[in-house]
């Protein structure tokens, strides 16, 4: 009997003592791992349940989506030992016959931080866990396993074997980082929330997929498609309200996943977002035409566009053109009605044809690139400069400095100034060209609709916009009753014309301001200098005519002046400003603890045999931002940089910088992020991976420490 009891005891003891760390089920191999080989009492460490999942099958995230269940771990731990909740890797989205699931394929490492008691005693710490998970392909199988991990207790913690540490490193990399951007959300009248992540200055063309994984079932329906948009002021994600009956929470939590296109391929980044409910923010689904009830109908959009077009006539950018038009109209006063009508119709045709052309461009670009920014042409500083010149020249013309039809007065104005029907047509074209930058704030809804619609709708909305723009003049020229209100021609016409020059000058000033936004203060020099040159050229040409040598000399000089003025435009294209002048106070790149990159400084530091670390970054580069947060700016790395005496240089490529561009090119790179490291005395740099980890940098730095010894 005694022996039997002893045997039983042995068996009982043997069970847990030889508890397994690996469980193999039909669909999952699960293993419990620790990132330490020995535990120090009171010092937290990490364990992970590593699921290796049968191909094409998946297990679930903390919010499993519309079906499924998350993996659960129940711990049995000695007194005083604490296990935190699971830290989940970034989920993926799986569409199971239309039912959206959030989870993991192939492999998932679920991290848990364990805090052993400070007074932990005995030879080893026994961690027992019961885990259950649901694994699905088309069909779902609940599986479970019992795990046991025994770790020796020691005076100092010992790290696990390198292979295990590598698994943990990889796992930590796939955990979302805290969002570097504030987020808020608002609720539309329909009850559907819209999330705004204030990631200012992102470049939409650099961001591919954007998806918000809500942290829990209820507030947000996982079923609805998300049509996120990336704009200058951040990421906007219209969401669909979920089935939970309760009010939307004060804070909406979830994981934002974006795929960033970088020079070396696409990188998936994940951020934990906690968006505060913003009662003042009442989203209308205008910008990102999501599938919602709030979407504009086509008829509404056309009406808005027509109205918007009418309002455009009052906009500062269109007003000068209208001023021209008014001057022209005044000149027509007293003419035959048919002449007037023809003029009005030609102007309308000019407007509509331009809008149609723009619609065509939008449709073509969209089918090619997949995205269009309204006002995209105004992002080119050259365009801004040329428009500023145009306004200036038209202003000079209205002031009477030179006569209409001047040969050097710029093509657009030249054509517009041409008399008769052609002139009216091109005035219409000009009106549209200068109107586009104004359309944005007023036309957001209709344009957003137009640009997100199939081609016919895009064209229809843009044409309605054009019709609205042309309508006042069209009505004026075709309604005899209105024409009768016009005063008789007389000297007042000249005075009005001269007065109208001033709004033109004002517009030129505004365009120069736009230019400075794009290029920094240098733009002012080029623009104003160019204007002086143009004025000089006009003056030269007005001095006299004839075939004399002096005349030809003057003409040559004038041509040179104009060429120089336009040369300024090319110069702008070459060097769109330095980072400091262009981005001003909104610059997102933080130089704290870093020196600004320059070739000279780099060469000097390398020549001096110092270790040098170069970080090429940009405010719009999400991956750069993440690397800084998780690897370059952690206290441990900062300390290590300091101890190793590394010269830290940061190149800000937010605005293209020729010195950085050429450096990137030399290394065969097309963009950021790029990280270079010169060991002490090294001639050539090591190019570090595009995705950094703290341990990687520390390893890099410790290698030079070892080399020193």
């Amino acid at each position: 009997m005694k022996r039997l009891l002893a045997l039983l005891l042995v068996l009982l003891a043997a069970g847990p003592a030889f508890g397994q760390t690996v469980v193999q089920t039909d669909n999952v191999r699960a293993e419990l791992l620790a990132d330490v080989a020995a535990v120090k009492p009171g010092e937290p460490f990490w364990v992970g349940l590593r699921q290796t999942i049968r191909p094409k099958w998946h297990t679930y995230w903390k919010n499993p989506g519309e079906s499924g269940l998350p993996t659960e771990i129940k711990w049995t731990l000695p007194e005083g030992v604490k296990a935190d909740p699971i830290v989940w890797p970034t989920p993926h989205l799986y569409d199971i016959g239309g039912v959206i699931n959030y989870g993991f394929q192939n492999e998932a490492m679920l991290l848990v931080r364990i805090t052993p008691a400070a007074d932990l005693s005995g030879g080893s710490l026994k961690l027992a866990a019961e885990a259950n998970w649901l694994v699905c392909e088309d069909v779902c199988i609940p599986e479970d396993g019992k795990f046991e991990l025994s770790l020796p207790i020691a005076a100092a913690a010992t790290p696990a074997a390198p292979a295990t540490r590598a698994i943990f490193d990889k796992a930590r990399q796939s955990v979302p980082t805290e969002s570097p951007w504030p987020a808020r959300y608002g609720v539309a009248k329909s009850g559907d929330p819209t999330l705004i992540v204030e990631a200012k200055g992102l470049k939409p063309e650099m961001v591919r997929d954007v998806y918000f994984f809500p942290a829990e079932w209820g507030p947000i329906a996982s079923m609805a498609r998300q049509t996120a948009s990336v704009g200058a002021d951040g990421i906007r994600i219209p969401l669909k309200r979920g089935d939970a009956k309760t009010a939307l929470p004060e804070r909406l939590a979830g994981t934002l996943v974006l795929t960033e296109k970088t020079a070396d391929g696409e990188i998936r980044q994940a951020f934990d977002v906690s968006a505060k409910l913003d009662p003042a923010f009442l989203p209308s689904s205008s910008l990102a035409a999501a599938d919602g009830n709030e979407q504009l109908s086509l008829v509404q959009a056309l009406l808005f566009a027509l109205l918007g077009g009418l309002i455009l006539n009052l906009m500062p950018c269109v007003f000068p053109v209208l001023a021209m038009k008014a001057a022209g109209f005044v000149a027509l006063a007293g003419h035959e009605r048919s002449v007037m009508r023809r003029d009005g119709i030609a102007y309308t045709a000019g407007v509509l044809v331009s809008f149609a052309a723009m619609a065509a461009i939008v449709v073509v670009i969209r089918s090619g690139v997949g995205e269009v920014n309204w006002g995209f042409q105004f992002q080119s500083p050259v365009f801004s400069l040329l428009i500023a010149y145009l306004f200036f020249v038209v202003g000079l013309n209205l002031s009477g400095i030179f006569e209409i039809g001047g040969r050097f007065a710029g093509v657009g104005q030249g054509l517009a100034a041409r008399g008769g029907t052609t002139g009216a047509f091109f005035t219409g074209v000009l009106a549209v060209i200068v109107a586009t930058p104004c359309t944005v704030p007023f036309m957001a809804a209709a344009l957003g609709f137009a640009l997100s619609q199939p081609a016919p709708q895009t064209v229809a909305v843009l044409l309605a916009l054009g019709l609205g723009l042309a309508l006042p003049y069209l009505v004026l020229t075709t309604t005899p009753a209105l024409q009768r209100l016009m005063p008789r021609p007389g000297p007042w016409m000249d005075r009005l014309r001269q007065f109208l020059a001033f709004p033109m000058y004002a517009s030129a000033v505004w365009m120069i301001w736009v230019l400075t936004q794009q290029t920094g203060a240098d733009g002012v020099i080029y623009a104003l200098g160019g204007m002086i040159l143009i004025a000089f050229a006009i003056w030269l040409l007005r001095i006299g005519s004839g075939a004399s040598l002096a005349t030809w000399l003057r003409r040559g000089l004038a041509a040179a002046a104009v060429l120089l003025a336009f040369g300024a435009a090319l110069k702008l294209e070459d060097s769109p400003a330095t980072a400091a002048s262009a981005s001003g106070p909104t610059a997102g790149v933080n130089f704290d603890g870093w020196e600004r990159f320059s070739r000279d400084r780099l060469n000097q530091a390398v020549a001096a045999g110092k270790p040098v670390f170069v970080d090429f970054t940009a405010a719009w580069c999400i991956t750069c931002l993440v690397n800084e947060r998780v690897a370059l700016e952690t206290p441990a790395v900062r300390r290590a940089f300091e101890q190793a005496g590394v010269v830290k240089l940061k190149g800000d490529w937010t605005n293209r910088d020729p010195e950085i561009t050429s450096s990137l090119k030399e290394l065969g790179r097309a963009g950021v992020p790029l990280y270079l490291f010169w060991g002490p005395g090294a001639e050539r740099p090591r190019i570090l991976p595009q995705v950094l980890t703290e341990s990687l940098i520390l390893a890099e730095l410790s290698s030079i420490e070892q080399a020193k010894r």
Binding site: G68, G98, V99, C136, A244
Partner: protein, 212 residues
């Protein structure tokens, strides 16, 4: 200068999903307090049922897939059958929806459905055959079992899970709040359902694989 950025098609996650979704055209799950989507279907005995004809009666809908572990949990513990009997005794019409699409897990013929009712000792008023998942889709069902209660006026008053503990463990049934049972009692007492929208849990509903 502000610019509008156009949402790109590519931003819609999952190209395949996007391609499938329009065809799937998931009506977002119907709103509580509104008329429940009407349907007409044939049951496993060849009888035609129409929701419109059931006005004046409280109706329960239960999506099922007999091979789903979560459905099995509630059938092997007799939880589902017990609630079906309780409901029948109170004059409630309990309709089990065999909504797995043809060829998918859980798809049953009329004969198989009857055999399952017999072998599981189930007691629904009828098992409706929904091989194209049409009823499931109209109700935005995502899982099996996904439960709905429709009151005497034809208004949807409950949607969600069968109970409050999402697990495949039979032992949890006793600990869970049985939402459908509580909800039915409230409806029959003329009271509003207190937990009217709960988290459904279970296997993905097996919709037709290709868009139809």
């Amino acid at each position: 200068m502000s610019t509008i950025v156009v949402p790109r098609r590519s931003l819609m996650l999952g190209g395949a999903a996007a391609a499938l979704m329009p065809a799937m055209s998931f009506a977002a799950s119907p709103d509580l307090g509104k008329a429940a989507p009407l349907f007409t279907a044939v049951d496993s005995n060849g009888k035609t049922w129409s929701l419109a004809d059931l006005k004046g009666k409280v109706v329960v809908l239960e999506t099922t897939n007999h091979d789903c572990p979560y459905v099995r949990k509630h059938y092997s513990a007799k939880n589902m059958q017990t609630q079906q009997r309780e409901a029948a005794a109170k004059g409630v019409v309990w309709l089990t929806l065999a909504s797995s699409a043809t060829g998918q897990e859980g798809y049953v013929t009329a004969q198989q459905a009857n055999e399952l009712t017999r072998s599981r000792d189930a007691a629904p008023a009828a098992v409706l055959l929904d091989p194209q998942s049409k009823i499931a889709r109209a109700y935005g069902a995502t899982v099996t079992p996904h439960m709905y209660i429709i009151d005497k006026t034809g208004t949807l008053v409950y949607k969600g899970g069968i109970d409050s503990i999402p697990s495949a463990d039979i032992a949890d049934i006793a600990k869970a709040k049985q939402y459908v049972r509580v909800g039915l009692d409230e409806v029959l007492a003329g009271k509003p359902v207190s937990d009217s929208s709960t988290r459904p849990y279970g296997c993905s509903l097996k919709y037709p694989r290709t868009s139809s």
